[in-house]
Point group: C4
Chain length 467, copies 4
């Protein structure tokens, strides 16, 4: 038995020679290249570790410049400020979102952010209860239940976000591990790209949402000034925008303030849930693109099977990450989509009404276009995850005949047969095809709903369904 | 020619050496492990056989304790009490459902349970005929044919269940054979899991169904007390709930009793058909999970091709079992789904009516939510079979490069290309996507049906379509 | 260079020895079996050829007995009498449909059958023109254009059938070649099966169609006897059933006879087009089953690659045949489906009308149920082609590990990736899923159409849209 | 280490001998055939290059004859005259469309064609603005916004075409490179086929469009002569056809001329966008057919892996080209499809109106049939790209057992898993299945829209929605 290993070793050495010299040379070349790359990565890693250790000192010393230099292109880093903003509106109470490393993340029920969040949830729950009682007092229609749907969605999203916050540190660590394993970008610009997209999405989304809220206030002020129930313009305004509160209780400034705060927060969260889905999509798509960029670099070249095996495992890791994130946020995705679907139907129906004034018209059409645009943006950003995941197939199609091996075959088969995409609780997957079917559904429902529509006089001051 | 086999043998021995020593050692290790496992299984088998032989004695001696110890995790065992309960309501007249081994199962046309079942079928047939005559006497509408649909479905399901009962012993033997061949759980808790889920499904389903029936009775009593046609409250009640009988015949207590029994049995079966589909789904999904749990245990490890070949054959066996069960119960599935679809549409339409009293409202909304919840539960449990069958693919994705062989490839291809799921007579497959399309269909039909809706005064005592 | 072939030969001989003796023995066994089978087939072929040559003599001598003995299980043979029947109704004018061998088939423009066919087409064209003028004279609605659709479809099918007749001899020769190549059944019963199914489909279809025509006549006679326009009951009857003729021309017995003949022929063809699609489906499905029966015989056994290669080529041939037949008849399929869809919608709409008499009601509901049943039968028979083509996959799943080779892999991949089914001009494929979507479409259209429905008094003698 | 390459070489030589002599001979044969083919191609290439160089001289000398002789079957050549025609209508301002070689193509913002195009875009923009103001002045309905949709689509297509013109030279060079690499046709007839189809599509499309425009003018003249607002018949005519201009401005001949020109150009472009999609589809499908024709030539023969590798790469190239063209024109495809969908719905709705005169009826039904026919033609031509791309699979199914290798497997897998088709911005792919779903959508929308329809008196001279 002792001889066998020896024999086996010899045999394997002989097998090596079977390869054509050219191929062997190529393999050697690649191996060398990989080794060098590995060394570089290691050094990079060591230097980064050192950099992270010294960071506290360094940042104090050199300020912003060094920070810019240390851009590492992780999702955690890119999403930090976005989450911080959200925390001002009682969403996702995780500590350490702006820290350099995701290991600093932590969640605690006792932390002040968590308490704020719980407070807001309680407050929304009360508001929702008041709204339900108010709406059930009158006749129920597709149009009238809008405030219930709106506040119900806000509450659901807040609670899901709180639950997500508990899992966030672990998710980010998982994300970080996978990111470290991916082929790294060399330039700062490439590392900065994803963060830039995420910041732009957040900025544009919030800007438009702010503009819409302003217009809604102007429109309400205009409306309140005409239908002046009382002498106090401020009171008129609050009794209009928070009618569910003052339907049961008498007017008092603290209640009005609470109502206003509730409105502002709700509006933010209503927009933020779409933005959040977009941001996660951008992050996942960027990871697939990072892999694809590496595949592009070696497109059509003779690569050893080990190269493909490595890429396949990385691809698999991102798929796993995608599945994990989908499990975590699919309820938010579901709420975001059904919410948008319902609101578009309602607003399109309302568009048949005669507008009472120009202010109303401007607000209404801005709001409608913003709503449709936002829905489209969510759909397309979410679909980009699926698109990017399929993109790798293109590079596999260009593998030369001689390099086509069991590993490439397996890689191609896996991409072909798996459906990698965000989903609404697995009931539907977010791909480009979905956009068309959603549009078709809206048109069909609209055509049917239109038959029950009766023109409402929006200038009627007695109406209770202003919002 | 004599030399050749010898040469061939030598050649094969030489081929063995070609493998790297590491791989060979691994193979040896796995082989040893498998042999040990096999021995254990054999011993387990022998001991179980012995246990089963001695059971009568043993159980007498040690009572419950021993029984608990002998939990074997088969579907037959888990489903025994459920079927026994159903037999009290004239469903599935098979003898030996609570026996330890499926070989004790038998069906006979002469057995008392079969006779009960046939009696109930005859009784339902008469009831259905009376209903049809009563309904055809008035105007026909989407809403009015409800009693026909209800009793027709009951009759169809009963007859299918009778037919299923004839095939049940054979099905359970097949199931048992496949279960014996699967990788066994080691702990009692894992073995107990499936049975627990099945019992919970049955319990919750029946509890809610019982609650609904009670509410329906309270609501009917309330209604009958207001519209008192005669002085006898009991008579009023029965003339309301069994109007199809007393439409043609005069009131008599035996007829009333028959009507009541018929109602109770029908209500049970109406709920049981959904529960039955759920239970079979739970069983099938559990078998896939049993396989997946084994795959999870060896996830990412170097396993010999024989391991994968064995798993593939086991997977194939469960798929075959799934197909067999689908053929046997797909008519029940079909009836259950179309029935639920129709009832949800009718109830949603009725929800537009003004409720005559609080009792009615409570009963109506409880019934509607129960109906929607039940439909969703059936869909999701049935979809879990498909989900679990796809899950194995994940473990195949993690097979290391060196262990990737023709067998793993074949396994992965088979999972990818086959659609393993319960179906409604092969016209539709029960997957998660179906839920959305069913919901979409309900909304569309509802929007169209709503146009023909005229508000009925449910407090009108003359109306004949109470039920 | 001379040495090389010798060396190569030696090498191959040596390669043979590499196989394990068991496998080699198996291969030998199979080879012997195949050779024997081949010899048998050859002898069978020779004897059949002889039998065919001697047939004229033989049949004279022994009558029916010998004929029964010679059942060869070809589609040409099975479909002979069906086509002959159709030819009495001016369809598919091919000569030699009842001949033993498809080589006797021929088409000629000058043959008397072709002339009959052309005559009928001209006659239908005239009838259609009259109908169009009559219908356009009044208001056009979904319901009123029924006669145009009916006669237009008849005309289209007749012309397609004439075109098909030209290609029929070639198609049958192709079919015959493929059938000869398939694994043959050994018993007469198995050979007789397909022919039996085809004959039963034709018989049942024509019986029901005849019954429906009789009922339609009785209903028309009943109607005519009440609304007696003139004293002559025969004249009343013809003026009712052929109103499109007598709308423009005065009544005359020859015209009435022409109208009656036209009616009988149209009714036959209207039913025959569905029956024809069913028959072709039965034929194609039977060929797939013939292959599957062979696969079943060797299920789970160790077969050499040559076995699988042979089966794969046979499978491929049937797929090719399926594609050829689909190209030839897909216009008929399309017409048959859209026609049935339209008629079901119209009849369901009419079912809302109050029936004027019991005769009408019986005729109407028999007609409606027959229509729905026929549509369902066409769908299911056509879908069986697809089902059978997928069935082969099951046997491939059971190929043992050692026999799994490149050929089996290729076979499985081809079955998985190809969609083998009849189609409606490639716009839709006839699978079981189609049935559900057709049913869904009918329900949706019906719900929308119902809104335009106004109850017509069918007892009104002045109405012109009786048919 | 020096010995190894030598050893390796020897080993490979020995490996060659392992092949059976027959196979080796076949390989040799194929190799020789390929080499000869290559040589021929090279010579062909050289001669073509020479021919192209000498062209200017040659054509002057021999005129048309030589030109005919030099037909090279490229898309650039085939599409030249079509693009030239389009340029007369301010579309696609690229220079050099009729040149022999695509390298002569160029785009410049300063060229006169580009200026014309920009001028027309500006003019359309003004027209669209006027139309919007005119339409918004009255009530808005599904029917009334037709002029906005019409002019908006024209504008969008013009701008997309201008953008496409900038990319056209590069696209054509890419196309040319791929065409050079494809297996070449030998006969002039085969080379001429694609160009012929493209010219026929353009000719028939433009003829019908011209006929429709003439009919529209006759109908308008007829209408204007009855509703003579003024004494000047020309003025009446222009005030009818260009009501959006004279709604705001007084009548003046230059404005009328501008309106007329705008109408003619718009009508051309409205038809041309469909024709353009068809032409590109014909081109792409022809390239796939060119490859398929080569595969057909060697169908079922023993070909070396290199043959399949080459074909696979060519197939891949055409797929890449298809993707590139799709990216470039998918906005046009999208506009073309949604435009057609909308117009068919509107026209079908209008078909319920009573036609005021025979001229109107002729124009209307010609226009409707033309519209439906054009939509169907676009769908089917576009679907042919997908059909042809799948067709290659058939030849791969016939590869003999011995020639089945890793390359054929890879080729087959790629065809199976990729969806090669033109698309509407990736939201939907243009396959034959789309036709049915578009038809279903039209029927459904029509059935719903019909409910809002009120018969308009088209003979009412005051109406403003004539067009």
């Amino acid at each position: 038995m002792r001889l066998l290993p020896k024999l086996g070793r010899k045999f394997r050495r002989w097998k090596k020679f079977k390869k054509s010299p050219l191929l062997r040379k190529l393999d050697l070349l690649h191996e060398t290249a990989r080794k060098r790359a590995f060394l570089e990565t290691s050094q990079d890693y060591i230097s980064r570790l050192q950099a992270e250790c010294d960071e506290n000192v360094v940042t104090k010393l050199r300020g912003k410049t060094r920070d810019q230099f240390l851009y590492n292109g992780t999702f955690h880093e890119a999403v930090g400020k976005v989450l911080l903003t959200a925390q001002f509106f009682a969403m996702m109470p995780v500590r350490g979102v702006t820290a350099k490393h995701p290991s600093s993340l932590s969640f605690s029920w006792l932390h002040v952010r968590t308490c704020c969040c719980l407070l807001f949830i309680t407050s929304t729950l009360i508001d929702l209860t008041l709204t339900i009682f108010k709406v059930l007092d009158g006749p129920i229609s597709f149009n009238n239940i809008k405030p219930i749907i709106f506040r119900g969605c806000i509450l659901l999203v807040c609670m899901t976000a709180l639950n997500l916050a508990r899992k966030w540190p672990e998710l980010m660590m998982h994300w970080h591990d996978i990111e470290q394993d991916l082929p790294q970008y060399q330039t700062q610009k490439e590392k900065w790209r994803m963060a830039h997209t995420i910041h732009m999405v957040m900025l544009v989304g919030m800007m438009l949402s702010f503009a819409e809220h302003l217009l809604s206030m102007i429109s309400a002020i205009n409306y309140a000034s005409v239908c002046n129930v009382t002498d106090d313009p401020l009171r008129n305004f609050f009794m209009l925008t928070n009618d569910e509160i003052f339907y049961f209780m008498g007017y008092s400034p603290p209640l009005a303030l609470w109502g206003k705060l509730q409105n502002v927060y709700s509006t933010f969260i209503w927009n933020y849930m779409d933005v959040f889905v977009m941001i996660v999509s951008v992050g996942l798509a960027a990871k697939f693109r990072q892999l694809n960029d590496n595949l592009l670099k070696f497109k059509g070249m003779h690569m050893p099977p080990s190269y493909w095996s490595e890429r396949r495992i990385q691809y698999r890791n991102i798929c796993g990450l995608c599945g994990k994130m989908d499990n975590a946020i699919s309820l938010i995705t579901m709420v975001s989509f059904s919410n948008n679907l319902y609101f578009i139907c309602v607003q399109l129906l309302r568009s048949l009404n005669q507008m009472p004034s120009v202010t109303h018209a401007v607000y209404f059409y801005f709001s409608l276009i913003f709503l449709i645009g936002r829905t489209l943006a969510v759909s397309l950003y979410a679909a980009s995850v699926h698109d990017e995941s399929r993109y790798s197939l293109r590079y596999l199609r260009c593998v030369p005949k001689d390099s086509w091996c069991s590993e490439t075959k397996r890689f191609a088969d896996e991409i072909t047969s798996d459906l990698v995409a965000l989903s609404g609780m697995k009931f539907f997957h977010l791909t480009r095809k979905l956009v068309l079917s959603v549009a078709g559904t809206i048109v069909t429902y609209e055509l049917v709903l239109i038959q029950f529509h009766e023109d409402q006089n929006l200038w009627d001051c007695d109406q209770s369904n202003y919002s």
